[in-house]
Symmetry: C2
Subunit: 247 residues, 2 copies
Amino acid sequence: MEPASTRDGIAMVGFDADDTLWRSQDYFDEAQAQFERIVSAYVDLSDVGRRLYEYESRNIAVFGYGVKGMALSMVEAAVEITGARISAGDIHRIVGIAKELLRHPVEVLDGVREAVEAVAADWPVVLITKGDLFHQEQKVRDSGLADLFRRIEIVSEKDPPTYARLLEEFGVPASRFLMVGNSLRSDVAPVLELGGWGVHVPYHTTWAHEAEAQLRHGGERMRAVAAIAELPQAVRELDAIASGAAR
Amino acid sequence: MEPASTRDGIAMVGFDADDTLWRSQDYFDEAQAQFERIVSAYVDLSDVGRRLYEYESRNIAVFGYGVKGMALSMVEAAVEITGARISAGDIHRIVGIAKELLRHPVEVLDGVREAVEAVAADWPVVLITKGDLFHQEQKVRDSGLADLFRRIEIVSEKDPPTYARLLEEFGVPASRFLMVGNSLRSDVAPVLELGGWGVHVPYHTTWAHEAEAQLRHGGERMRAVAAIAELPQAVRELDAIASGAAR
């Protein structure tokens, strides 16, 4: 095989981590359900989850993403939603939810190792994940997948400027970069916008924030697959188009 | 001038950020004083600060460094120290302390810009800082110093393996790398241990955790300066020794 770097077409494949390589949103959903049970002992509201999301969304600008920011938003929301009636013991349980989430063992999703290995056999692969540095590093380490990736990049936001900066560091033009992930908003749309390629691997549950996506550009440079096992074939197909397009 | 990369001696200078380039520990000290005032309304204890530090130390393994982890430790400590008597309103104030800290404008320390510029005129400089990715990025941006640095690396721990990984990415051997910072533990000791060079710029206040340092190796490859203005001269002196030592 001709080495990827001297061919046209895809020269590097990036992978998202949470809910692409391993389970994540399920634990957040469960954490939110626990939060709702705690708060519901004080108030009879049907929209505790929606209210929590309002606090989280507002606080992203000051806390960023990740479990610790979520927990602080939960504490704040619990105090305000209950009119400051929540007990210290219940606040403690909320901090406990965060600790449990941070300590949760990593569950690599079915078929992921095989799919990443298959892609890594033909292209250099990198991992690009968003969120809390400390927690993400821990998950990468615990996943047993770290060795497959040439670079592991933990970023605070997955937007076009961030991808552009990383691609410059990697020395790969966007037109030869393909990103794989479960979030249209964070993984696929920004890379398409830069002129790159994307494979969307939907996960069964998505955080409201990540579901807010607009695909304005480059839909023709993207594939959606129903299962990660279909990823290597999708990458090969897009690579063939990219090679053809470059001629 | 001969380009640094083809000479012997120092080939790259790294800078710590918090309490080296800009004020940080002062705000944490003030946050802790606020915490002590809140908790002291419930219990008559002289060692609230020491107790909080115990929670923080124990929680570093699960929260990592940074304001958000500190805030969650504060909430936990407040509940347990007060025997769960603390009010929801006071818990809310503790979350408010964290938000205030995260939103605090960056105050670059006196003489820092001039010193970094002087060093950057002769050597490529990089910034290596520990803690919360989101908060650190924000501070780097707000400091107005970002353009001086060739690379900005935010890491979860500043230990010898982390420095070794970064130096490999930079393509600089430890024997030609000099690190500048206020923490012997995080900035100077690990780089000396790898065979590198260090300049210690003490700050008037140090977090108990960072004060726990052991300098076992390489004291002869280190200088301490009383003020950042003395940094360029200290780097030149160590560079001269490094150049000589390499011959």
